[in-house]
Symmetry: C2
Subunit: 442 residues, 2 copies
């Protein structure tokens, strides 16, 4: 299928005198795609001094029933003979460090891996399926895991699937890896020091891109996904279980199961639900995570200790919109706090600050008094339960543009047993995954 | 009365050929006693090479209906003509820095103050009554405030009652004061540096004893009482209210008042009550405070945020003992916590620690998973309410010998509205003072 598409593009290009070159990139180009994966990435490369518009026109014509998408620039997505095909215009630059947009780098990655991977394709497939099984495969923001290219570099670096797992057992946060020039050699991470980039400072893992040494291939990887991989690697090396590659399916919770689990935890569960905004996942997820963090902070600041939280985008059909529902779940240690709270003011020796403090708290429930050398008053708490706090304060938080707008337009709050009113299977699977959350850790 | 007692002692001493000298010390000796104060301190001084036994025998004989007490050594307490008289044997040492026990220093204090205070007695009385009114007078451990001698030194130091109040407004924690050699001069605290004692390191206020420069006269003063005085001083200088000298009496709370106040605070009140051990206040109070701190720590460690706490010794007659009841009150932010709690383990890169951690938590409610780079499990909380926590863990705390023994023998726990079952007036006044707690702070 890929070859047919490439030929069609080049034929059409010749007839239009467009000086482009069609390239198959990604895992399909290097025999490292996973079974069940029906994605094809085809790039339409233009010389540097040309406009990409002509390439985009070719893509549109090749796939009449397409959808136009947009990352750094426009591209075309279409289903062709059962494959999900991305047709992406790019520039054919001479040197990967002088790219115009991120996609221009991809052909360099394909060339680099294709030349070195022969003989190691099986190890790459094992590693990718392992990462997929334990939930760390994919560099999209929702996952924050390992990209396909990163997994290929790791195999080149450590020589085999088991070699990568062994090496991971010694990783620490801030680990730096440089792929050796010759594959099957030990990685050389002694000479890196002088070339460390400022931007890598907080990256838990740095794998220097061999085609562009200023770039960290693992930039999207989070600390938690990194060590989820490390811990699962230790498990597999000890137990050799194929469960790690193919985890059991997640069944949706039935009403009584959901109620039983809630009763067993006796925690305060609060769900915020609203219409998902009409944006792609890589835009929605960072905003949901940001909102999750802001709301956690709000709850903690007001005395409601957060045990755990999670966010989801469930593509349920609803009467209100086509984009499904966004859901944010917070699990708290308490349902209700005392009406009275302690408010600690300035030290007893700062007369001016004390004046201002006391004028703001003229009628406390108790106090003022001195405790620990500071002036203290006891005043009524503004919010004694999470629902009233969220309703009053949520819209003043930093939430991300689209999420803020949707919350402004309306949302629902479900508390505790009210959660069983939500019956769609996506939500019930989400709750299974939430309650049964566990990872392979050894 | 004092002169009569002194004469009786000396007469009896002469007839027994005891080479002692009777001395009136304390506020009565220097015309600085407060109205209503019916205490007399009379010391029976012996030359350094004698035994104190003969002096103690004189005291016993002078006051046939006495009670024997014990501090650093034995002394006699008796009611004589309506006065509470302490008859205290001591050594007549040459130099206050070479005393045998703490009481031997007292005659030096009396002599020092008597020689310098004439003309300032009125200022001392104002200062003492002011301190009494705002609750910071008395160096006993229950109060942790200013002693009579300390208040006299402060007046000598700053020349007048108002002078002391003005100076206090500039105090900081760790303030050091040296009484000038000539009264009515500014205190010299420039030359102190070289003579600072290790033991003063944590004292909030250091007033060097003019008769023994290695001693801090303010050693018993707590940080909070110090700044309670500072804050009240500012108030008086601004408002000149005599309320600060004579605060209103504390009325006991009636049932409905107690219930109303509890409803208004909606906090979790927990009272522990047990028979007071048969010891004096200066032994019981430090143990009650220690127990209070230990129990606060236990509650906080288990997720029950403590708003405030207090302890009391109520001399109610009970069927169980003559020494009254000890009571410890804790006010919490929550009644009940979630059954599930988060337990954070070692970092994802410490394989050996992870093994040990997971073997201790084989069947968590959720987890293990990686969060913030660390291994986390969610497990059942051992105690979801304060009563079960206290019953199970209190006896393992560091509580002080007598309090521990009494708690071991038995105690009662009252929670929330159960508090109205306690009807004695001392408790009801304690609750008034607890709920209405406020200080003069400006």
């Amino acid at each position: 299928v890929a070859i047919r598409i490439l030929e069609n593009i080049e034929k059409l290009a010749r007839s239009r005198a467009v000086p482009c070159k069609a390239l198959l990139v990604g895992s399909a180009a290097r025999d490292t795609w996973l079974a069940g994966d029906h994605d094809l990435d085809i790039f339409i490369g233009m010389p540097e001094d040309n406009d990409l518009g002509a390439a985009l026109d070719l893509a549109r014509e090749i796939a009449p029933h397409h959808e136009e998408k947009y990352a750094e620039h426009a591209y075309v997505h279409a289903n062709i003979e059962g494959f999900e095909v991305d047709l992406v215009p790019c520039y054919l630059v001479k040197d990967a460090s002088r790219i115009v947009s991120a996609v221009d780098r991809t052909p360099f990655h394909t060339r680099y891996v294709s030349q070195r991977i022969p003989g190691l394709e099986g190890d790459v497939l094992l590693l990718k399926q392992f990462m997929k099984g334990i939930g760390v495969y994919g560099s999209e923001l929702r996952i924050g895991g390992f990209s396909g290219y990163l997994s290929e570099l790791l195999v080149l670096c450590y020589g085999s699937f088991v070699g990568v797992l062994n090496a991971a057992g010694k990783w620490r946060p801030g680990e730096m890896i440089e792929v050796p020039d010759q594959s099957h050699h030990e990685p050389q991470n002694t000479s890196i020091a002088g070339r460390v980039q400022e931007a890598w400072h907080n990256d838990p893992l740095v794998v220097i891109d061999p085609v562009d040494p200023k770039r960290n291939v693992a930039a999207a990887l989070t600390l938690d996904k990194m060590f989820q991989f490390v811990a699962a690697s230790r498990c597999f090396l000890r137990q050799h279980s194929d469960k790690l590659f193919f985890p059991p399916k997640i069944a949706p919770l039935k009403d009584e199961e959901l109620l039983d689990l809630m009763d067993c935890r006796r925690s305060a569960l609060v769900l915020i639900e609203f219409d998902a905004p009409p944006v792609v996942e890589d835009i929605l997820f960072p905003q949901l995570r940001k909102a999750e963090q802001s709301i956690r902070g709000l709850l903690e600041r007001n005395g409601f200790g957060v045990l755990r939280s999670d966010v989801a985008w469930h593509k349920v059909t609803s009467d209100v919109g086509d984009d499904g529902l966004a859901r944010m779940l917070f699990e708290l240690e308490v349902w209700e706090l005392s009406q009275v709270k302690k408010h600690i003011g300035p030290p007893g020796w700062e007369a001016q600050h004390i004046d201002r403090f006391l004028s703001r708290h003229a009628k406390p429930l108790s106090g003022p008094y001195i405790q620990g050398g500071k002036v203290v008053v006891e005043i009524p708490r503004k919010y004694t339960n999470p629902r009233s706090l969220l309703i009053s304060e949520m819209d003043q938080l930093s939430l991300g543009k689209h999420v803020k707008q949707q919350l402004h337009d309306g949302y629902k709050i479900y508390e505790g047993n009210e959660l069983i009113q939500i019956e769609d299977m996506e939500f019930r699977r989400f709750m299974t995954a939430y309650f049964r959350k566990h990872m392979y850790i050894c």
